[in-house]
């Protein structure tokens, strides 16, 4: 057995460790360079990921699988972590907190997400999830002097710990029934077990797994932590939670539920579809009342999770492919929106939507970019979000679940209201008296360029990513 198959994870974790060692050596005023170290490490990890096999081979004693899906999620999480790093350098230094510890925790959390996504065994999947979660709890509460950040960390921790224990209880029931920890072995044992009447406990276990993961991705009955966690967390971490942490939850659902529950097919697709409709509707309707832009984006991301769950409910190859494409689109548009918010709050502006009045005059570039990201989240043509929704709707119709397509369409219509509110405030409301123009750092500028290009590229030339997403979704079962 060799660890060569997990080079991307080893590199990333090693960069995290190097960062905390460098923290002592590098003087306080030169610590900006640590951002470069983290970026180089993430790029190196991505290059290593590209060189890993992707033929579906099992490695490390069947703990992990190296298939196109592994490659997709590794690159997705690394891209998310890279954007978070770019736009947290100034933010964290501006708050007077230790950059090295912050970036190290981002590296560790991303390592956990990657381990989770490539796991082919519930033990390594759970350990990866916990590495991600524990680092993320600390990151959410990282601004120790701000009560809101403490609140965010505490609420995220309490809900996340509950979710982990429910998930683990469910896994223990599944293990009790099947006696297996490997995901394909569990699927096989469940088929045998079903004929002998094991399935009550197995279903209960899988139900608990789904509930635990539902907490992690903030699906609706389990979403109540999300707005507080997003509002209080450092803004880069709000982006990280919505892209990497929730993406990891989706990866776990694809790996665990789709494969292990495949044999128990029955009606779980319908249940997941109901969860999806509930999630998008509650998310969108609650977002209508929000006055704080981070809370609004939190509810908006709850709604986006609802759209993603629709693809999982369909469960066909096209459905999973649409989910993966949507995750890529979601990465760019959500990170972009949070980057704009972070650049404004670094410049001393508040996070209330009313603070955005006249942004179109004060900082036209940022206003145009935020409008693009909002348009993409809404699903206007020529943006990534449009292509994502289109492929989800197509998959739902072809998968015989047209009611999900109707749900997505109706919800997109609802969401026009709150995205329009922000756009109107930026472009039509009068400029406040003492407004100053906004200055941006080089790192923030780079993050903005990447997210904008990504959002437009996926909207105008989606073929490349579509091909990748469909290729990754073929070999799942």
């Amino acid at each position: 057995m060799n660890f060569g198959t997990v080079w991307p994870e080893i590199i990333l974790a090693a960069v995290g460790m190097a960062l905390i060692l460098l923290d002592v050596i590098v003087p306080k005023q030169r610590q900006r360079a640590l951002g470069l170290v983290a970026v180089l490490g993430m790029v190196g990890s991505g290059v290593a990921a590209a060189f890993e096999p992707r033929n579906g081979a099992l490695a490390l004693g069947g703990m992990i699988i190296l298939d196109p899906l592994s490659l997709f999620f590794r690159l997705l999480f690394l891209a998310g972590a890279l954007l978070v790093t770019l736009f947290s350098v100034d933010y964290i230094r501006g708050k007077g907190r230790d950059l090295a510890e912050f970036l190290a925790l981002v590296c560790f959390a991303t390592t956990g997400a990657m381990i989770l996504a490539i796991s082919w065994n519930v033990v390594s999947l759970f350990v990866g999830l916990e590495l991600l979660s524990i680092s993320a709890y600390v990151l959410a509460g990282f601004l120790r002097d701000e009560p809101k950040s403490n609140e965010a960390g505490l609420k995220y921790f309490l809900n996340g710990a509950l979710a982990s224990s429910v998930l683990l209880f469910g896994l223990s029931l599944v293990y009790g029934v099947t006696g297996q920890t490997g995901i394909p072995e569990i699927a096989k044992a469940l088929v045998t077990a079903q004929t002998q009447g094991y399935s009550t406990v197995a279903l209960m276990g899988l139900g608990m797994v789904l509930v635990g993961l539902g907490f992690k991705i903030a699906a609706v009955p389990f979403h109540l932590w999300a707005p507080d966690a997003y509002e209080g967390s450092p803004t880069p971490i709000a982006g990280f939670l919505s892209v990497v942490a929730e993406g990891a939850g989706i990866a776990a659902i694809i790996r665990l539920v789709s494969v292990a529950m495949g044999p128990l097919e029955g009606s779980w697709g319908v249940w997941l579809g109901a969860l999806s409709i509930l999630t998008m509707t509650v998310g969108n309707v609650t977002a209508l009342w929000q006055k704080n832009i981070k809370r609004m984006l939190a509810y908006s991301s709850v709604a986006q999770v609802g759209y993603i769950l629709a693809g999982l409910a369909v469960g066909t190859t096209a459905g999973i492919g649409a989910v993966l494409f949507y995750l890529a689109a979601y990465l760019f548009m959500t990170m972009g929106a949070f980057t704009v918010i972070a650049s404004l709050s670094s410049a001393g502006q508040g996070n209330e939507i009313s603070d955005y009045a006249g942004l179109g005059v004060r900082s036209p570039i940022l206003a145009v970019l935020l409008t693009i990201f909002m348009a993409s989240l809404l699903g206007i043509p020529a943006t990534a979000g449009f292509m994502g929704k289109l492929s989800l709707i197509g998959a739902a119709v072809h998968g015989g679940m047209a009611w999900l397509a109707v749900g997505i369409a109706v919800n997109s219509a609802i969401s026009v209201a709150y995205y329009w509110l922000v756009a109107r405030t930026m472009w039509l409301d009068p400029v406040p008296e003492k407004a100053e123009p906004i200055r941006r750092s080089a790192e923030l500028g780079a993050a903005l360029v990447v997210t904008t290009v990504g959002t437009l590229f996926l909207g105008i030339l989606p073929q490349v990513v579509f091909f990748f997403a469909n290729w990754a979704s073929v070999g799942i079962r």
């Binding site: 460790m17 905390i20 060692l21 923290d23 002592v24």
Partner: protein, 117 residues
């Protein structure tokens, strides 16, 4: 299970003695519930001294570091018992584990987590 009979007997004796002593004392003097009795600790420093001095949060840091390093220590028991059977591979596994934790320990040390002052 028979290998642990001595341990079971020992634990039983300890349990009987401790419960016996507390039981006898409880019989001899029926407790009354007073303000002093409902304090968190029935003797020693009062934990809620109004506007008085508070315990530094360092106590908690020490407790948390203790938990983390205790978890680490657990891993050494099975490793130590099967050191020879696990061979070089086991040695390398444990070396990686220990080095990673040593980095954490160094960080805690450098950041002053172990100083008292």
């Amino acid at each position: 299970m028979s290998a642990y009979q001595a341990v079971a007997v020992y634990l039983g004796v300890v349990l009987v003695v401790v419960l016996g002593i507390t039981g006898v004392i409880g019989r001899l003097r029926r407790p009354k519930r007073t303000a002093a009795k409902t304090a968190a600790y029935e003797c020693g420093v009062s934990p809620a001294p109004g506007l008085g001095p508070r315990f530094p949060v360092r106590f908690y840091l020490v407790a948390m570091l203790f938990v983390v390093l205790d978890v680490e220590a657990i891993a050494f028991y099975p490793w130590g018992l099967r050191l020879r059977a696990l061979g070089t591979r086991g040695l390398l596994d444990m070396a990686v584990f220990a080095v990673v934790l040593a980095i954490g320990y160094a960080h805690v040390w450098k950041k002053g987590g172990l100083d008292w002052r």
